[in-house]
């Protein structure tokens, strides 16, 4: 690990993201800073549940019974998720379904090794999901790097970058294991412990520092709304 | 070739129309009423022996005024057309052999005779065949003779123009006198018609013919002079 917390991107920013001078239709010239002008740069907040515990429990039950997985296969484990839709495993009966957009999903399955390049996209997608949201680490690679433990471009410990609720180990784990992991996640949620989103907001600076340490071309706002 | 053929066809087309005219032509046995009027009344009214002259100068005087104007116009325009290209005085004569003695003397002798003949012709226009135009043309032929004999000869344009202008204005004025003192514009009878057949008769006809003669002569001379002088330069 590098000792200095370098925040400055070490790779030149893309032209499209540099500040530029623009001429309006009436001839007035002004500057556009894409990172600032085109992206919301608010920080995430911790959002506690309902005041009433019974309401929160109800919601937690609903959340656990309605797991919408973001359809984003980050690594080789994605291949293990497809069988869940088939008649053999039929994950639908557990209220599990796949959503194509992070806005509507609340479960992110990091399916296997995660390269740094993909991490950036994962972070973006994760941040675009709404609170509460859950992360399942699939396969050994998410735990300690697995067979890529000494690779130059994969991350080793997923929970340094995102709050992980459940790890499903194996290389690769079978779909049954995945289903078991989801059941475990459901239990966690029902118990009111699936607060990964709030954790992320609370320790935002720490997560960001970790992320930026590995992602050298950080050319986006800190939080991707 | 095509052009000749087309021209031939057109000519034939026109010829057919003309043929219809010729074939449909019936010569008159008697004078028609207009001609009859002239034959019966010219002598009595205008006192002119020459009916054609009476018609030309009086009855159809407006035509004649126009005719004179045509010549005036032609002279003016010829001058206009040739004027821009006219070189400096005396620039000509290049290459033209000098006129011989015989030629010079001959033309000098003939010129006054021609002039007198011309004057005679237009002064007697109301009595005999002839008149202002013919006389004027004869006058101009004198000028032509001079020019032929000596192409380098220069006429006094100013004089010609003065004759032209004065006679023209005078012609119009005579016409207006007719309007004022006789039956109408160009009526010759504001002067006495005099004795039938005499020189000084037929009212203003001799006057008008004289003016016409002078004017026509001046205009022809002017045209000739203009053409020659331009020719000179080449």
């Amino acid at each position: 690990m590098q000792q200095d917390d370098v925040v400055e991107p070490r790779v030149p920013v893309k032209d499209e993201l540099k500040k530029r001078t623009v001429k309006g239709p009436d001839g007035f010239e002004f500057e556009v800073d894409p990172i600032h002008d085109y992206y919301c740069d608010a920080r995430p907040e911790v959002r506690p549940g309902s005041y009433l515990k019974i309401v929160e429990d109800l919601f937690n039950w609903a959340r656990s019974e309605s797991l919408w997985i973001l359809g984003f296969g980050t690594g080789c484990g994605a291949i293990e998720m497809r069988p869940l839709m088939t008649p053999r495993f039929d994950a639908y009966r557990y209220g599990i379904q796949w959503r194509p957009t992070p806005r509507q999903a609340n479960l992110f399955v990091i399916s296997g090794y995660l390269s740094v390049k993909t991490l950036k996209r994962v972070i973006r997608s994760y941040e675009q999901m709404q609170n509460p949201k859950y992360v399942v680490g699939l396969g050994s690679c998410t735990v300690n790097g697995g067979m890529y433990w000494d690779s130059y471009n994969t991350i080793k410990k997923l929970d340094e970058y995102l709050p992980v609720d459940v790890y499903v180990t194996g290389c690769m784990p079978r779909p049954e294991a995945l289903l078991a992991g989801f059941e475990e996640l459901k239990r966690i949620i029902r118990a009111g412990k699936g607060e990964g989103a709030n954790l992320y907001a609370k320790n935002f600076d720490w997560y960001k520092a970790n992320q930026k340490r590995v992602i050298h071309d950080w050319d986006m706002p800190d939080y991707n709304w | 070739m095509v052009r000749h053929l087309a021209a031939g066809l057109l000519t034939i087309g026109l010829a057919l129309a003309f043929a219809a005219l010729v074939l449909g032509y019936q010569p008159d046995a008697e004078l028609n009423r207009t001609a009859l009027y002239y034959a019966e009344n010219t002598a009595k009214d205008l006192g002119s022996q020459n009916i054609v002259t009476a018609i030309v100068v009086t009855y159809r005087g407006l035509d004649t005024l126009g005719e004179v104007t045509v010549l005036f116009l032609a002279a003016a325009i010829v001058g206009l057309i040739l004027a821009p290209g006219r070189g400096a005085e005396g620039a000509g004569r290049r290459g033209a052999p000098p006129p011989g003695e015989l030629l010079t003397t001959g033309s000098r002798m003939l010129t006054p005779l021609i002039l007198i003949t011309g004057i005679y012709v237009f002064v007697n226009g109301h009595l005999t065949p002839g008149g202002g135009f013919q006389g004027g043309a004869i006058l101009a032929s004198a000028a032509l003779l001079v020019l032929l004999a000596d192409p380098g000869h220069r006429f006094a344009h100013r004089t010609i123009e003065t004759i032209e202008g004065v006679s023209g204005v005078a012609y119009v004025a005579v016409g207006l006198l007719g309007l004022a003192f006789a039956g109408g514009f160009l009526d010759n009878r504001f002067l006495p018609t005099g004795r039938f057949g005499a020189l000084l008769s037929a009212g203003a006809i001799p006057v008008i013919y004289t003016l016409i003669g002078l004017k026509v002569g001046a205009e022809f001379a002017s045209i000739l002079a203009n053409l020659t002088e331009t020719e000179e330069r080449r």
Binding site: - | A15, F18, L31, E40, K44, I51, V52, I77, V78, L227
Partner: protein, 118 residues
């Protein structure tokens, strides 16, 4: 007799026109027109002519009283005088034009003066 002179007149007119339509040379065209003009004048005079009569001058040969029976129609003669003079004027004008055209373009070919068209 009269038909003959009419025919001659018209023939001249047609010949002149044919010449004017077929000759490219401007001077030749002008000459053609004078020929045609002459034809017209002959036609004019011929129309006024009447068999067995004399010129309309009331001298000794034609007493005033008999004028109506003795003279030919004087009017065409007056007209032809005017026509001749006018023809002359136009011819002079055309000649002057021919000169001007030649001096500017150096040619007398009428088909060369087509800058203005369409």
């Amino acid at each position: 007799m009269i038909t003959l002179s009419l025919a001659v007149g018209f023939a001249l007119v047609l010949a002149g026109l044919y010449g004017a339509l077929t000759n490219r040379n401007i001077l030749r065209m002008i000459v053609s027109f004078t020929v045609a003009d002459t034809g017209v004048n002959i036609v004019l005079v011929a129309v006024g002519w009447m068999r067995g009569r004399t010129a309309p001058i009331l001298d000794d040969a034609v007493p005033i009283a008999e004028a109506a029976q003795r003279i030919i129609d004087p009017l065409p003669q007056a007209l032809v005088l005017t026509a001749i003079v006018i023809g002359l004027g136009v011819t002079a004008l055309m000649l002057a034009y021919a000169y001007r055209l030649y001096s500017t373009a150096g040619t007398l070919d009428v088909s060369k003066f087509t800058e203005l068209k369409w």
